[in-house]
């Protein structure tokens, strides 16, 4: 498969408070994201997974190395890498429809066509009846569906998702995981998904990039060949348990260190 997005020897140092050496958040990360895959960045707090994702989006500039999208360096915020934020980041003054139609509007697409696009993606996330509502009227799970539809409607080449379901309750999260996998299967979008939840990574990812903290490094890249669909039955298979143990062993030390 073709590489769509890559990090080449990327490092990031955040400045210290008193002009000290600062914190090395990422240390010479190299990673290739394949076209159409579902890639999870997994790791304990402080492993730099969100920083790496923010670099893919162009929100944060690397201190060293470079990010390339389709073999062009990314130097600023790039709409081809669409971001789904954990805290939704919906525009509160826009209706659900206007939020979803924002990307098309920025592309100069006319009002009528924008409306059609918004309706189509709202239907895809199961929110057809809510186009005229304001985000504040919706539950957290529904707001995250709107964010997903907004990102899809802007038609990015890569969807970047920063722990998008972390703020939701466990049951809503499971429903949305299933929906995201179906949407990805249908749309063929490349997704880079940050999580600290091992099960979430095992259920959704084609490949899991396990990261370790201080400084952020890639500990292992694991191919997840578990058969799809990975419903609740699949999670009781011995292969699932074996893979989970393998991932757990990679990050257990980091988690203990963080908890201590």
């Amino acid at each position: 498969m073709n590489t769509i997005l890559s990090a080449r020897g990327v490092s990031k140092r955040f400045a210290g408070h008193q002009g000290g050496g600062g914190v090395l958040a990422l240390d010479a990360i190299s990673l290739e994201v394949r076209e159409g895959e579902f890639l999870c960045l997994l790791g304990a707090s402080g492993c730099g997974k969100s920083t790496l994702l923010n670099m893919f989006a162009g929100f944060v500039a690397p201190s060293g190395g470079e990010i390339r999208l389709r073999d062009e360096a990314i130097t600023g915020i790039d709409p081809r890498c669409g971001m789904v934020f954990q805290s939704y980041a919906l525009f509160p003054w826009k209706t659900v429809r206007e939020n979803v139609a924002f990307g098309p509007k920025m592309k100069g697409i006319g009002r009528g066509e924008r409306r059609d696009i918004a309706e189509r993606f709202l239907a895809m996330v199961g929110l057809s009846g809510f186009a005229g509502h304001y985000p504040v009227e919706l539950s957290g799970g529904m707001q995250q569906r709107v964010t997903l539809a907004r990102c899809l409607a802007a038609n990015p080449e890569v969807m970047l998702m920063d722990e998008p379901f972390a703020a939701l309750d466990a049951m809503t999260r499971e429903v949305l995981q299933g929906e995201l996998m179906r949407i990805q299967a249908q749309s063929g979008k490349t997704i880079v998904f940050v999580t600290h939840n091992i099960d979430e990574a095992l259920v959704m990812a084609d490949r899991i990039v396990v990261m370790s903290p201080r400084p952020g490094r890639i500990a292992a890249v694991i191919d997840n060949d578990l058969p799809r669909p990975r419903h609740i039955e699949a999670q009781s298979l011995p292969a699932y348990a074996a893979l989970k143990r393998q991932v757990w062993n990679l990050i257990a030390g980091d988690l203990m260190a963080h908890a201590a």
């Binding site: 915020i77 934020f85 980041a89 525009f91 003054w93 826009k94 799970g141 569906r145």
Partner: protein
């Protein structure tokens, strides 16, 4: 999976759209309105008791019945209504001009730091000056006509509008700006689609505060030099020793500013439809 029908993509709806929160009576069970009325009537009762009983001389503080009689006699003439109209017109123009100048300038200062750096020291110098300190200069420049009253209103309110606008522009959630840029918005689109609507609630709140300040400005300007307006009415009533009329003027000021505030609230609700759901009070 080759070219799936769109219906394959449709997911079960999250919930039916009929589940909007029902409208409720404001804080049923808390007799707020009753207590409001109690406050007003006890003040009125105290006033009536003190003056009508002769405990306080009517020369010192006129009784409610004297004020009512005066109000009745002046409400029949054009004087009172002309005064209210004259003051309102000055506030409307002066405050309108201040808004037109201060809101765009404030957004520019909030969004672009060099503008703020240039204008900040200027504001620090001007802000401590009450609007009445501008009366001598404005009279020298503009005489004692309408222009001078409007200038006082302008000088008294534009800085507050500016400060509120700068603050609300700076408080727009940077995450929303990031999200807009990530969806392809350029500088102009970020301004129009995010910064402006994001700061509008704060700007409108500032305008409401400044509107009350604008009213106090016009009244002080009218007391110093004017033939018309509520301030002039009160001042000439004082010169004639007509204390009931002074009180009628004061009540009229309260009523007019209250009505202006109510209108401003309606305008706010109309301009900020998304805020209605946030504050269901």
């Amino acid at each position: 999976m080759s070219t799936p029908a769109t219906s394959d993509l449709v997911l079960p709806a999250a919930a039916s759209p009929g589940e909007r929160p029902k409208w409720r009576w404001p804080r049923l069970g808390r007799p707020v309105l009753l207590l409001n009325l109690l406050g007003i009537f006890s003040l009125y009762g105290l006033w009536a008791l003190a003056t009508e009983s002769g405990f306080v001389s009517p020369l010192f503080f006129p009784s409610p019945s004297m004020v009512a009689a005066e109000a009745q006699s002046i409400a029949g003439t054009a004087d009172l209504w002309m005064s209210i109209a004259a003051s309102s017109r000055r506030v409307f123009i002066g405050f309108g001009l201040a808004t037109l100048v201060a809101v765009p300038l404030g957004i520019l200062m909030g969004a672009w730091w060099p503008a703020k750096a240039v204008i900040d020291p200027l504001i620090s110098l001007l802000r401590p000056l009450p609007s009445i300190t501008w009366i001598p200069l404005t009279m020298l420049w503009l005489g004692i006509g309408e222009g001078q009253k409007i200038a006082i209103v302008f000088m008294g309110s534009w800085i507050y509008i500016l400060l509120y606008t700068v603050e609300s522009t700076k408080r727009v959630d940077p995450l929303l700006v990031k999200a807009a840029r990530n969806l392809g918005a350029g500088n102009l689109a970020v301004m129009r689609e995010v910064v402006l609507p994001g700061s509008l609630p704060g700007i409108l709140a500032g305008l409401k505060v400044s509107l009350a300040i604008a009213w106090s400005c016009v009244l002080s300007a009218e007391m110093v030099a004017a033939q018309t307006g509520l301030g002039a009415l009160i001042w000439s009533a004082k010169d004639w020793g007509n204390m009931p009329l002074v009180l009628v003027g004061m009540v009229c000021i309260s009523a007019t500013v209250l009505i202006a505030d109510l209108l401003a609230n309606r305008l706010e609700a109309w301009l900020l439809p998304w805020e209605r759901h946030r504050r269901p009070n």
